[in-house]
Symmetry: C2
DNA sequence: CCAAAAGTGTTGGTTTTACACCCATGG
DNA sequence: CCATGGGTGTAAAACCAACACTTTTGG
């Protein structure tokens, strides 16, 4: 069956930038394309948006088809529509990004010949304008994590140690943070759960979770260091 | 002539949210649609993206066709693609926004039956999901202007008085700002030009322009209030 | 000289940053 | 008992917000 329109239309695709941390390095999930164009090149998971399918759903569907990752919280990054970015013809890509907390199994599906994590500091040549999309996604992710308070997307698994959370921030920003300052900013945002995590032959770490009520709990009462008094004048 | 594809495609449009200040109120430029769907309703200027036309160019073109505004600095807001947002069929809209500095003449063109500025505090019912798009654009604009330093888009004409600039910020944020604090933050970002503006029977205002080198000049040396000394320890 | 808007500094409070030691555990 | 990562407070600096008066001009 064929579909006809009165005017020519660009195609619409959805692509997803999935970040995670591996070995202290911020990484992006790429697939090796199994068919033309750019067959054999690395590219972001993604594909065509179906008619009457929302952009968000298309992104989630393509991600699952190609990487078997599902249930991620996707945020829209923007639309990329330069003519010439796809040799098959004018294609508008709506990009999404997310951050994968814990290691999750991924495996190539669909027309992905292979799938792998790549450190953002050493990305391979990529198909289309995907290098540019990743660069912009990285910028956004960093901006979003400028404050430890913002626990975006799903930075960490439901239970985590504060060190784990800090490592995530450090990997994203590419620099080290001060442990005490970092923890100070989490006042009222996290709460300990009744469990600890033992890793090595040292003191176990307390597990935390995010306080689910950003309505009142996030309103940090600033009860820390009420230095003097209210202003009166 | 008709165009056929192997798979059905959503249509792609570009819409533009143009903000400005009128009478101290933040306003948005809307057109009254001259044809179906939503004939007679207010809507954002915009229209279909041509094949092999970049999104940005399409937005600029449609804006000019419908409002005769050209040369504006457009920033992408995002893509809106819920099925059902356009009764003609699945349509993905890529929205842009901008801020119009000085009053510029606008006039209805193309299939705009009319064109007018509407205060964001009293918007009419709008076609499609344009009310949502405006709301998100407003959020973005406010966020972007959270710091007087960020002179986004084209907040003001090339030459401006500091009071004019402050009025813009006040209108966008919907609250009054302190004159001295506001000016303090502009340290190193603006420079006086050799002219002044006389308005009434009072002291004329110095005209300024933005320092075009955000590379080194924006590095505000914070030479104000070197309270004690460098840290030594 | 009066009305009207332009212009200009200081201070208290809050937030951020830099910094070092003791604690609990397993081997 | 020691190696390893977990956990905690304080002080200087930077930043932010509140505040009022003098200056210049035209009428």
């Amino acid at each position: 069956m064929r579909y006809t329109y009165d005017y020519p239309r660009p195609a619409v695709t959805a692509d997803v930038v999935v970040f995670t941390i591996r070995g202290g390095e911020l990484c992006v999930l790429l697939i090796r394309r199994g068919k033309a164009p750019f067959k054999g090149s690395w590219a972001l998971p993604g594909g065509f948006v179906d008619l009457n399918e929302s952009l968000h759903r298309a992104a989630a569907r393509e991600l699952e088809e190609e990487t078997h990752l599902s249930g991620l919280v996707l945020e829209q990054l923007g639309a990329f529509g330069e003519p010439g970015r796809d040799p098959r013809g004018h294609t508008v890509s709506v990009a999404y990004y997310t951050f994968l907390a814990a290691a999750r199994p991924v495996s190539a599906g669909d027309d992905a010949a292979a799938i792998d994590w790549h450190a953002v500091r050493a990305l391979p040549k990529m198909a289309f304008d995907h290098a540019e999309i990743v660069a912009i996604a990285l910028e956004r992710l960093r901006h979003r994590l400028s404050d430890p308070a913002k626990s975006p997307i799903e930075i960490v698994p439901p239970r985590f140690t504060l060190t784990e959370l800090q490592l995530v921030h450090e990997a994203v920003h590419g620099r080290q943070l001060d442990k005490r300052n970092f923890r100070a900013k989490l006042q009222g945002l996290v709460e300990p759960v009744a469990a600890a995590r033992k890793l090595g032959r040292h003191r176990p770490a307390q597990l935390y979770r995010f306080t689910n009520a950003p309505d009142e709990s996030a309103r940090k009462p600033t009860t820390k260091r009420t230095r003097a008094s209210k202003r009166v004048r």
